[in-house]
Symmetry: C2
Subunit: 183 residues, 2 copies
């Protein structure tokens, strides 16, 4: 039986937005094919990859036998491997999205509203009324990545808070704080 050439892997870097909403990527490839007379010629082909919402890095898309044709050898499979491009705001953690947010001490104590752009172009407005302790993680359900195997379902959005303390306070501020926060 004719042997088959080893598969060829290519990286396919995708933005989190693509992996969130899905996208169609057209890949132009160049390969050698054999015409009926056995002569080699180079052709270009367009392969379409249908990226599904929720795909993770490491997902492989295989185009069977799309490698170069050579006499007496089955052409290799052509494989694309999904990679995640770094995102400016979010990190992906499985099905969750994670974002770091630094807020002032006064907002951490007295409350604030967090605005975040979603990966599909909406704006989330999240009221914060609990006291935010440093390192506190707020979970916004179902605002994470789509789950590829559970259509319609999503992971969570996790907001990790860091609290920025004032560098110095006046004697008046200190004495007022002692009054307000009690001893």
């Amino acid at each position: 039986p004719p042997r088959k050439a080893a598969p060829v892997e290519n990286k396919l870097p995708c933005s989190l937005e693509e992996l969130f909403s899905g996208s169609k990527r057209k890949m132009r490839i160049s390969r050698n094919v054999l015409d009926p007379s056995g002569k080699t010629k180079n052709v270009e082909e367009i392969l379409t990859i249908d990226i599904k919402p929720g795909w993770k890095k490491g997902t492989k898309i295989t185009f069977p036998e799309k490698g170069h044709e050579q006499p007496n050898i089955i052409p290799s499979d052509l494989i694309f491997v999904i990679e995640e491009k770094p995102h400016g705001i979010y990190k992906r953690d499985g099905n969750d999205l994670v974002v770091n947010r630094r807020i002032s001490l006064v907002d951490a104590l007295a409350g604030t509203t967090i605005s975040l752009p979603t990966l599909d172009g909406r704006t989330l407005t999240i009221p914060v009324t609990d006291v935010i302790k440093p390192g506190y993680e707020m979970v916004v359900p179902k605002e994470g990545m789509p789950i590829a195997k559970e259509p319609g379902n999503k992971g969570n959005l996790r907001i990790k808070f860091d609290v920025k303390f004032p560098s110095r306070l006046t004697a008046e501020q200190k004495s007022s704080l002692r009054q307000v926060l009690g001893e």
Copy 2:
């Protein structure tokens, strides 16, 4: 030449107080010795170990040939290896002493005074006037462990702060805080 028995190691657990101030430890050992006629008899001996201020775990004190006597063999050396017992307040980090201190948010902001017992029985009183951010490390020079090789010199005391936030605040407290800390 007669062979020598392999050395025997014993652990010598010491408190941080002993390693700070130094101490004399008397160790009672029991060993076989040969009398002039070649007969074995068991004797007890007291060995004195002079623990120097600043000794570290792993320091070895060797008593040459204090193992059991046997015919035609040089007795083994007897070795004591300093270990540090855990301390209720301090951890040792090289020549430094490290202590964790959890303070309230109001003390972190408005200032406080820290009292700490030293390993030689004094009480340190440390005024805190800077704003303490979570994870802040305050260094008190020369209140760490003695440095064995530099008599009179000491490492630092490092106080690591954790800030306890209030669990909840009233609407009045929140609005006062916004006034005091500004926007």
